[in-house]
Amino acid sequence: MSAQPLPAERAVETDPNSIASVHARLEPVWRNGPGLWGWLTSVNHKSIALRSILTAFAFFAIAGVEAALMRVQLARPENSFMGPDRYNQLFTTHGSAMMFLFAVPVVQSVALYFVPIMIGTRNVAFPRLNAFGYWTYLIGGLLLFAGLFTNTGPDQGWFSYVPLAGPGFSPGKRVDIWAQMITFTEIAAIVAAIEVIVTVFKQRAPGMSLNRVPLFVWAMVVMSFMVLVAMPYVATASAMLAMDRLIATQFFNYAEGGDALLWQHLFWFFAHPEVYIIFIPALGMVSAIVATFSRRPVFGYTALVLALVAIGFLSFGLWVHHMFATPLTQTGQSFFTAASAMIAIPTGVTIFCWIATIWSGRPRFDTPMLYVVGFIALFVIGGLSGLFLASVPVDLQLTDTFFLPGHIHYVLLGGMVFPLFGALHYWFPKVTGRMMSERLGKVSFWLLFVGVNVTFFPQLLLGMAGMPRRVYTYLADTGWGGLNLTSSIGAGLLAIGLLVLVFNIARSLAAGPPAGADPWGGETLEWAISSPAPDYNFAYIPIVHGRSALWADTGELDAVTGLREDRREVLQTTMLDAEPDSRHEHPDPTIVPLLAALAVGVGLISGIFDPMGFAVGGVLTLIALAAWGWPQKTKPNTHEIVEVPK
């Protein structure tokens, strides 16, 4: 593979300036402001993504504790550890937080951290919007847990079926808190999706044509497109639910012609793709890890890209398989069974390609790679148990039983959390500049791997034994006590595994050995720069000569100079072939995104108590948007080169 042919008139002699002096000039331009104000006004993608990842893990921890409490309650029949009201709040906020506040935000944040570096640019396309997205997400998450800790936690289930979630059967503010949390997190998710798509389309390093984009980046792009289509549906649905509750609309009230099943269609049209929105980024993470640790590029690049896209498309055709127990025609049922089966083909292809990569590589089984193998071992159980639910007759027996939590946790823990933890061990050195302990990493891996199986395999069996899900207790004569106790013991193993992981992180942060720029001999551009990455990522924008950017060029990398170093400027390239096209000035740190998020927050939260709050918040938001659109102070010597179209 050779370099993209570049226009001759742009080639120049080597820049006389040393890289060190370039660093010295870029650093003051790109760094965050000092102190708390600097923290609040940051528009740097890594600062924001990192705090977003930490926020997501904080919510993960709370939701995990909730899960542990539920397992304590279910450890034995007719346990009196907690009553139904507490239990229902716990399982609702556990599911809602894991899906909306942990899984989607964390994969999007990993994307917002690494996609810009992997494609060789300095920041995401819309830095202020990115900050705004984080703040709305944070407000939404705090709202949900503020509700929980004041005993106003949603208790209608994370799927909020009407009429149970409607005004008639859930009085009070609990469901309203849930609905507004959804709105916040959907705004954040849509914003992050647009960031990823546009950054990848327009800011790739020269030479990184679409057929050279790393699989990790492809996965994030596919995920982002899915977010754009799916999230508006749940946002609209939750807005309708809130309106039914707050201003007496009749969307879901059957007495006035509304429909309870309308909610289910809108919700699952979002929530089924949601699982793949979470899962596809994990495929990207696995691809990155497999390549680096097998010491070869992932086998079947084109097949994998096509598979990712196919999974993305097909996932929108499956939602009805969550509704097989509602009135449906046989034809409809068969269609959705077939569609559900079809998605197993591209998913299978991805797994076969990774096995082929390992097979022909010379792999090292460091902790990240262990997590990949663990992912295959667990996720395949999740996928195969999914077949039971795609098959209408078997689904009628198993849906809404404990088989479901068993299945979904194999899918989400195996298919998403394991790759994420692999990614954590893989990229920790890049983010912090320090290595994690291999020994502790392996200990926590095995605890988690065994823990997942001990916790969730009994749940698959409990479902077959007839135990419904979402029950706060069960009677002794059911005979479900043994399996439940086993499952609870497994939850304990998971908790210990997670504690070891946290300890490993803390110890490595404090005293891990220095990582250097590229501890693993990585394939993609993030390993070309120092660890942790500088605020502007690259002193010069690198030029890419192959699919494996760093393996195609082992020594020096070709690079682009000429971006201004006295203001924040990024290089834009053409969408397909990534040829240098234009320069684009980026905004300096600003408080406006936070203010805008607060304005939205005032509107959505006060609206719970008085519909006029929406109007007030709307006006505040418009003011914030006006401030947003107002031009920042222009730099001295600003002279724009304008390309006037013919």
């Binding site: 139904p84 097998s294 299978g348 039971f388 007759p393 419904p468 979402r470």
Partner: protein
């Protein structure tokens, strides 16, 4: 396999067919899973050996061709397996549909309430319509058409031994059918989250011979006998004068409310409080005294009756056979 209460403890045609399909899926999944594990394990071993020999990754074009072929074979095998899966599903789905040639079907309207079940047996003679609560009797060998209605939120009707579940949706009329091929007594539980006491919303299913069923039906159709002994008479008065009458019905008396389960033959039921407690005098007393302790959130309020009244009331209820 008789794993009591499980989906494999089948007692009727649809459940039987589904269990067979489930076994098929279990075997197919187990084999597939093993194949994936073996492939992964072999890949790891082979690659480890290469590392041990100090060789680089195998990037030869002929290896690439071989890998492409193997991945393609695996993908095609997956596709074929899925075709089998879809076909088996479609065939089973067809087989468990309501039999169009059903002989003398029985029709039962099921109404879900937070958190108890009401059953109404339809009959061509309106005076033979029968309403019961939390207890479903069916004759062995006769198909039963089940019409699912809800008074409040979504519930789900599920007797694992007989058939998969169908949701009970307000504003929609869903249907399903069941048929018991052998006598038995099972517990059925609500399978859609329906609020605070979703966990304690069960009912008893009794499948019995047609003769026994007919006898049961006759006995249930009968109005409650007026109490004869004095304590039961007192209990009757307690029922009618205290809050009981506001929610419950006992046919043959002035109690006719349908807010809560009807109690005409409560003494003949195996359990109380929607399958929560065995129907004993002690449990019944505990339940009436404070249902909130047993089923927090249930619509029934506590009844702090003086012991004498409580005893009389229990005496009366025990006559309602």
């Amino acid at each position: 396999m008789t794993w009591a209460g499980s989906i494999f403890d089948t007692a009727g045609p649809p459940a039987e067919r589904i269990a067979r399909l489930a076994w098929f899926l279990i075997i197919v999944s187990a084999v597939t899973y093993l194949l994936v594990l073996v492939a992964t394990g072999m890949a790891m071993r082979r690659a480890r050996a290469r590392r041990a020999r100090g060789e680089l990754a195998d990037a030869r074009p002929e290896t690439g061709k071989r890998l492409t072929r193997n991945v393609a074979i695996a993908a095609i095998a997956t596709t074929l397996l899925l075709l089998v899966f879809v076909t088996a599903t479609a065939l089973t789905n067809k087989a468990i549909a309501w039999p169009l040639n059903a002989q003398q079907p029985l029709t039962i309207e099921v109404t879900g309430n937070q958190w108890w079940w009401q059953f109404r047996y339809r009959d061509s003679v309106p005076s033979n319509w029968l309403t019961t609560s939390n207890e479903l009797h069916i004759p062995v060998g006769r198909p039963v058409r089940v019409i699912l209605l809800s008074n409040d939120v979504i519930h789900s009707f599920w007797i694992p031994e007989l058939h998969g579940k169908q949701d009970v949706i307000p504003g929609h009329r869903n249907t399903t059918w069941i048929q018991a091929d052998r006598p038995g007594a099972w517990k059925a539980r609500c399978a859609e989250f329906c609020g605070l006491q979703h966990a304690k919303m069960a009912f008893d299913v009794v499948a019995e011979s047609p003769a026994q069923f007919d006898r049961w039906y006759e006995s249930q159709l009968a109005s409650a006998q007026p109490p004869t002994d004095s304590s039961a008479k007192h209990g009757h008065d307690v029922f009618m004068q205290r809050t009981c009458i506001m929610c419950h019905a006992i046919s043959g008396t002035e109690a006719g409310s349908s807010v809560g389960p009807e109690l005409t033959h409560i003494a003949s039921r195996p359990s109380i409080a929607a399958g929560t407690l065995p129907n004993t005098r002690e449990n019944l007393g505990r339940w009436i005294l404070n249902p909130q302790l047993i089923k927090p959130g249930v619509r029934m309020p506590p009844n702090a009756l003086p012991p004498a009244e409580m005893n009389a009331l229990l005496d009366y209820l025990e006559t309602l056979k």
